[in-house]
Symmetry: D2
């Protein structure tokens, strides 16, 4: 409660439940003068939309965004932008079975324990459907970034599905949009297709790792000590449903390195400092270096599976549960555009923060 917002100057508040009338994002702090319309935002929502292939949930949602405020004659005015998405697929018949049971590995039980309310309609506020609002806000953030700091490119992709990791030697930016898993490794995409098809048929699910890279980020973004760029990215990604780990650059593996191996050596290039490597993920001391900003997060497998699991009822009786319905065998797939959206929001926020707090006072090297 009162914690449904993120961002400092570009501040996004999401609202709405999985099966309520609508959900959306109240976006406060978008700079004025940014050219925007619903179509530009819809583009990113369509990328996240369920039911586009057999690997994602078959729930049918148009996910059509409406801009209710904050723009005039095609540009933002500097006032709050309300982005609303109406829910169209609200089948109530689905819930009978889980109305009184808690799904293991799901937020059903903790929401009830916290708030004393059992909103059994498809997860209510804890549903991944909330991420549609993030993607809408992220679409607006991208346009604002283009307007005030052109040249930043944000791209997310899947690097692992279950036990299967991509081969970095086959990394190809152009492949990312060419397969249903948004992976840069075409061969992995083929293998994953078969693997996931089997999982889907058996009613199982699997986890994934998503990497999001921002290229063209200027040096100097990030506000130490408690709004470091990596701190804000970690919070942003960990707040996404089902995420259990976040890494910057070398990530958890940094623990295995020596100082010699981990140091990114510096030399002077024509346009400023250049680095021999990017173990840091483009962030030192919480501030961007000018290199690619690299963040990675792990998405756990969805808990909605067809295998019987032990659980309890609302009244405290032991029972069992099978979660039928329309679910994602690899929910990580649809987390790709969500991760991109969070990156866009965080970067725009820090562009504005830096401009406000530091202005043109930056140090120049060389």
């Amino acid at each position: 409660m009162s914690m449904n917002s993120f961002g400092h100057l570009f501040r996004v508040t999401t609202w709405g439940e999985s099966h309520g009338p609508a959900l959306g994002a109240t976006v406060d702090g978008c700079p004025p003068g940014v050219a925007i319309d619903a179509g530009k935002i819809q583009h990113w929502l369509d990328k996240r939309k369920p039911g586009q292939n057999k690997y994602t949930t078959q729930r049918r949602e148009a996910d059509e965004v409406k801009i209710l405020s904050g723009t005039f004659e095609g540009v933002t005015t500097g006032t709050p932008v309300q982005l609303m998405i109406e829910n169209t697929d609200q089948r109530s018949k689905d819930y009978g079975d889980i109305k009184d049971k808690f799904r293991p590995g799901h937020a059903d039980i903790t929401y009830f324990q916290k708030y004393g309310v059992r909103d059994y309609r498809g997860g209510g506020r804890s549903s991944a459907r909330e991420t549609a609002a993030r993607v809408a806000a992220g679409g607006l953030a991208r346009e604002a970034i283009n307007a005030i700091a052109p040249g930043i490119d944000i791209k997310g992709y899947m690097t692992r599905m279950g036990a299967h990791e991509i081969d970095r030697s086959r990394f190809d930016w152009d492949q990312i949009d060419a397969n249903p898993f948004w992976t840069p490794d075409a061969q992995a995409a083929d293998e994953w297709a078969n693997y996931l098809d089997g999982l889907r048929k058996s009613g199982s699910s699997v986890g994934a790792v998503i990497e999001v890279v921002a290229r063209g980020v200027p040096a100097g973004l990030g506000a130490p000590i408690y709004a470091k760029l990596d701190t804000d990215l970690a919070a942003a990604m960990m707040s996404i449903n089902a995420v259990k780990g976040v890494e910057i650059g070398e990530g958890m593996s940094a623990a295995m390195l020596t100082g010699e191996l981990n140091a990114d050596e510096i030399s002077m290039g024509p346009d400023g400092p250049e680095y021999s490597s990017n173990h840091s993920g483009g962030i030192l001391g919480g501030i961007s270096t000018g290199q690619d900003v690299v963040v990675r997060f792990a998405v756990k497998p969805t808990s909605s599976i067809l295998t019987t699991r032990k659980t309890i009822t609302k009244s405290g009786e032991d029972t069992e549960i099978i979660t039928k319905g329309r679910h994602d065998p690899c929910v990580g797939i649809r987390a790709v555009p969500v991760g991109e959206a969070m990156m866009a929001c965080v970067l725009l926020d820090h562009l504005l923060l830096h401009r406000g707090q530091v202005g043109e006072n930056q140090g120049h090297i060389g």
Copy 2:
């Protein structure tokens, strides 16, 4: 920067540089009536203090904390508590060599690029010395937790040093305080001692993984969607110097599991729900389950090593650097009490938030 604070209701602002007159924490939002004195806080600072054995930096700092406000007759009054630590070891001779060079892998360069100021005195604000203020605040948070929610126990320990991980089958809570690495695996402690001694003598450094566990945390803490308990823990840990990855429960490995393996099954116990496992790390949907809360983070090796590295000067000339001085071969060791302090602050904050936002309205199972 106005971003030197963390927490919602228990709000800590740290201030001070590595080699300025003093540093400290302005702690706002501590509940009234908590019995506190400088000694109780000093206990935790002593745990973090440098120079206690050959494995940590030989810089000599008393790290003596003074309480300048917020208490009267031995208890907190509900007003801000100022915790100040004066710097005593401010040797200026150390800086000559690095005054104009940037250390690879260090925040020297990004702070200069951001702020246009080169504070070369031992890292200035970006120094790990800032974490002393966190540990002081954490000491106060522990006492406040004991006062309002007794029974919560917070413990941090090292699970990996470089390539060497502990053997979980030898995990012993009682060993943690019995070795200089705060590791629960006595055999690992012996092996690491030799390994680190070698690294120290060769002027190298190595990374580490720290795990922090909170036992006795009640179900219901955490504020979805953007102040989830795991979100706030991820931000708290990622904000610590040199941290590059954060995991909750199963962490990055969750990506490798199927839904069947990852689900923690639920049954009804005498005191409420019980779980067959804790892949979730005690957090579902951003809210505590009542299980142990488990967070893990990776600390990169310090960039201050005796091997020559390529770098540039402030004026943009290519050069080389060797970082002499008094440094930690495994800075992760001293991150253990820092991680504990951050856990304490986050938990207290969420105890207060929950009390304010939800009150006694929680759902009861059984």
Copy 3:
């Protein structure tokens, strides 16, 4: 921008423009378990609604509120409550005359100077129409107050219209709802009716003073030093369109008193401390005393009048303007329910804050 929210734990973000598709309030932090439906909120919106008598603007707006999220089965769930009001009366023909001219005494010019966008549609975001969203949020706040701290009664009324002040000796709570000016002085109501009718016919306007009283507020609310109860009330009232002054208790007149006259003497009553008078307006040191909380604010006359005034165009040319259209001769009338709503939001916020920060730790006298 990013400043369209108020409140600490009960946090209201308003959005929407005068003539956009819709406006509303995203209310975050409402406690769970509060019984609510659209009808309870509509009650307060109807009080503020324009066009109800000849003394307010003849713009026709249904001001029908819809609850889009945050409730389930008739109670709040602890998640954000989206309150949306669609705009139905969007006559575009009205704007031709003022499209390029700035109205003296109106925010037209400063919004343009700040944001570089001229949203000429009835004031855009700066329109008093934004206060409908506040009234909706206030309706929810009232229900939440009743649920967690029953016995608090909030009432606003007009004490001055232009040169005409009420006679406090005729103060009658029951009169407030019996006249179109919400004044407790029936005789004043009669006199004001004639006075305002004359103003309306001549196309003029006049200012007003509104007083809002909260009875039954417990001692102890307010968070010194910078979220004192009076500080938050001052900000809340000053943020209302056209407000130029805010007073607590004795208000500006406190400057004229001696310490002897201003001190509210204390004696012990059956239920706690009692006061001989209430110069303090129920607040000492920013914390409620248990007496009536009394706040007063002055609303300037609307700048939309039929008399020709000098002004300039967007391109900087001197010109003249007459503001035709449907306007309020005394906009202060409709500020009464807005002031009440702000009082309700601030009190609920401080009830939650106090519960979170202090809990049951209050001092007991006697």
Copy 4:
């Protein structure tokens, strides 16, 4: 309480009690590169310092400020600036009489009721001594304003003492610093000297009105809807001890005017829009117009007087009290530099906010 901070990007947290070891301001968000030293801040503290003439409390405090962090080689670094003032005059003998009694009109009773702690040492946190920290922060804010937006001049002065108001026809800026009351009316200063001398001898006290004007403020500052410039100024002034009313421009008197009288007509001047009058106090729609920003506040008479007043004890018994000791007959005098400091902090904050949120996107007229 976590509510001891104000400001959005220039964020000041004050800490410390009247009779603790020290008090101060943790100032976060000061831009880097501002030339500052303790002397520049001391200048303003000396203006507020008690005991400078017979009209203010005879408590002796050096009020010497120390800068503990955030500067290097004479300029700010962009990191938190800690401004500490040690308390030197901590006579404990004063408190015996009021240890168990509550002073009427004082925060003694509400702090006890809220926090359950009776800090009887000279008011503890509720003492006006807290305002020394504000003045220190304000001194830093002034230098930062000069650095990033030169040409803004902030000046406060007294316009009323009790029943005695200044004559605006005698207003003389140069007189303000020439008398102990900081009043621009030399004749009033003479009259007030006699009047206050009488009050002081009789152990009484009286209220005052302070006006603070900022000249040279550019158009466009202020962040609607809930961080309007007037909203933030109202909160800032109302948070000062003993303030009971705040006015912008015409203030409460705006209620008495018609639309014709209140409208400030606009014409085009050589440097932009010019206004025929300044009823608005330089703020329209919460945004600065470029005219003088004018705020006024009423300070109530101090409750510490030599006349016997009825009160109760901590245990709830009726009793009487006389407040002996060293007090201000007109505490409003020392509120002048405090009001100036708050104006400086608010303006700097909005300069930074505007830069961050809007950048160079402002509209240009003519």
